[in-house]
Structures are given as C-alpha cells and as structure tokens.
C-alpha cells in the first residue's frame, strides 16, 4: 500500500501511457521509448551528483557552510550562491538534492533560493551556447536582468514564508543530520 502511495504519480502516468498505447500503438511506443531514454539519461547523470553530495555531507563541517552561506553571510553569501548555481550544468532537478544538503548544513533560506535561481538560468555553459545561437545582446541582457530578478524573487519569497514554515522545511532534513 505504501508503495502505491509513494509511486502514485508514476503509476498514474503509466496508466495513461498504456491507454494511449492501446488506442494508438505508434504514439504509445514513442512515449515508452522517450520515457525509457529519460530514465537512462537520469541514471547516467545522477550517480556522481549524489556521490559528491554524500561526501560533502560527511566531510564538510556544518560550521563552514554556516559561515559561508548562513545567516550573516551577507553579500558574500549571495555572491557565492550565484557562483555555485551558475557553475553548474544540467536540469534544474539536479539542483534540488544540492539544496537539500545546503539546508542540512545551515545555509540561509534566501541563499538557497538564489542558488536555485542561478542554477535555472545563469549556467555559464548554457550562456556561452546562448550567445552563439541567439546573439551576444540577447544573452547578455537576459543574464543581467536575470541576476537582478533572481535576487528580488528570493528576497520576496524569503519575506512571505514565515519563520515557522522555514523551520518546517529545514526540519525535514534535521533528523538525519550529523552533529
């Protein structure tokens, strides 16, 4: 029962896929192939990320992260969050487990949000590619406006989400925390 509840979304999509397959074999096959490729891609990209995070989690002391990204890390914390996010590559869902470890280690909530924003739009490898395909003016303008926007969005969400809510989000990761 627990298994069904956990995998509810997956099972639901599979039911849709199978119904499509019954009605339209060609389209259904395409969907299954693309889904299979998504899983293979994920299995290729994800292992080193989780491995590095596991190592980071055991070796980097909480104090270090608090100092760099926690309360009172100020402008430096913001800049480091932007740098960490933009140095990355890969889809946004790769950023979520990283954010989890950052929260576990006591990084400030607004810095987590800035990191997520930077990962989603400021990635340097993507930026270089964007310049060559859409032009320098387009890419540079987007990059600059996005930096401002990401910080504003982070500040705004940080204001709206109450301290209790933040505690609840962080609390999810407290249980398996290393002291």
């Amino acid at each position: 029962m627990n298994f069904i509840k956990k995998y509810a979304l997956f099972i639901f999509i599979m039911i849709i896929d199978i119904s499509i397959f019954i009605m339209d074999k060609k389209l259904g096959t395409k969907i299954f192939i693309s889904t299979k490729n998504n899983f293979l891609n994920m299995l290729a990209v994800i292992p080193p990320i989780f491995l590095l995070l596991g190592l980071l989690d055991t070796w980097v002391p909480r104090e270090t992260i608090i100092k760099l990204l926690g309360e009172g890390s100020g402008i430096k914390g913001i800049m480091l969050s932007i740098f960490l996010g933009s140095a990355a590559a890969g889809p946004l869902y790769g950023a979520f487990p990283v954010a989890e470890v950052m929260m576990k280690k006591g990084a400030k909530f607004s810095n987590i949000l800035i990191f997520l924003g930077a990962w989603s739009t400021l990635k340097i490898p993507m930026f270089l590619f964007e310049m060559t395909s859409l032009g320098t003016k387009f890419a540079v303008t987007r990059w600059i406006v996005d930096v401002v926007g990401i910080i504003l969005i982070a500040a705004f969400i940080d204001r709206i989400i109450s301290d209790e809510e933040k505690k609840m989000i962080y609390g999810k990761y407290e249980n398996n925390r290393q002291v």
């Binding site: 969907i31 990209v45 292992p47 055991t58 869902y93 924003g117 739009t121 032009g135 809510e165």
Partner: protein
C-alpha cells in the same frame, strides 16, 4: 562533457576519502544512497510525465504554434509552452534561433527561453517534495511573471 567531469571528480574524491577514513567513506555512500532512494518515487513520476508530454508536444508542433502567432497572445502561448516543456538548452537555443529567422518576435522567443529555464510545471511534484507547496508555487509563479519582464526588456534592447 559535464557528466564526465562529474564522474572524474566523484571518483577522485571518493578515493581520497577512502584513504583518509574508511568509516566516513562508508557513511558518505550510505547517505548518497539514502537521499537517492528518498527522492526516487517523485523522480520516477516526473521522468514518466516528461516522456509523455515531450512526445505529444514535439518541437515541430511548438514551432508551428509560435510561428503562427504574434503580439501578447503569442507571448502567452510561448510562456505556457516554455513552462510545461523541458527542452534541454542545446535543443532550445537553436530552435529559438531558427524561429527568429522565420519571423517570430524577439519577445515571444525571450519569454519562451525564460519560462523554459525558470518555470518547471512538470517538475513541480519533485520541487514540492523538497521545499513544500508554498515555496514551490511561489517560486514558479514569480518566475513566470518575471519572464515577461525579462522579455519586455530584451525586446527594448535587442532590435
């Protein structure tokens, strides 16, 4: 390329960690596995959803919709497509460039690129499982609105 670098880094750090402290290395591996196991159900659902949506909404269909429309309606349509789909950058940028050459508006394309990167409708279940409903919704809604601002500014700068 990025994946190769990540693998090399992971292996190097793993070896260093192993020689420094075997117990801690074992713990790190356990933690890595546990956090992967925790997120696997949401991950599997989202990957299946992407497989479904991306097969039905091909780049071909997308280019037809964008190419046929201009003005705010075009922007609105591209923003919806950008929010729902998950096209990797190395496909999205050339697609956007082709559409621009075919006469699509800069602002429509800008809003498409911006929502594509910042707003993740199909990954929402995953985001919620990490940060809770409120944060996930707020981040996506604000990013959606912000994408139009970015597009307006890019439209003014790029002619």
């Amino acid at each position: 390329m990025f994946t190769v670098v990540m693998y090399i880094l992971a292996v190097i750090f793993l070896i260093v960690s192993f020689f420094k402290d075997r117990k801690k290395t074992k713990m790190a591996l356990k933690k890595a596995w546990k956090s992967f196991e925790n997120i696997l159900p949401a991950f599997a659902g989202v990957l299946a959803l992407i497989g479904l949506v991306m097969t039905v909404l091909t780049p071909d269909i997308i280019s037809k919709i964008i190419g046929a429309n201009t003005g705010f309606l075009g922007m609105f349509l591209t923003s919806i497509i950008g929010s729902i789909t998950l096209i990797p950058g190395f496909v999205a940028f050339p697609l956007a460039a082709t559409l621009l050459q075919k006469g699509a508006g800069v602002m429509q394309i800008a809003v498409f690129i911006s929502t594509l990167m910042m707003v993740g409708f199909v990954t929402l279940p995953l985001e919620i499982s990490y940060f809770g409903k409120r944060v996930a919704f707020l981040r996506n809604v604000l990013s959606y609105i912000f994408s139009f601002i970015v597009a307006l500014i890019i439209g003014m700068v790029v002619r």
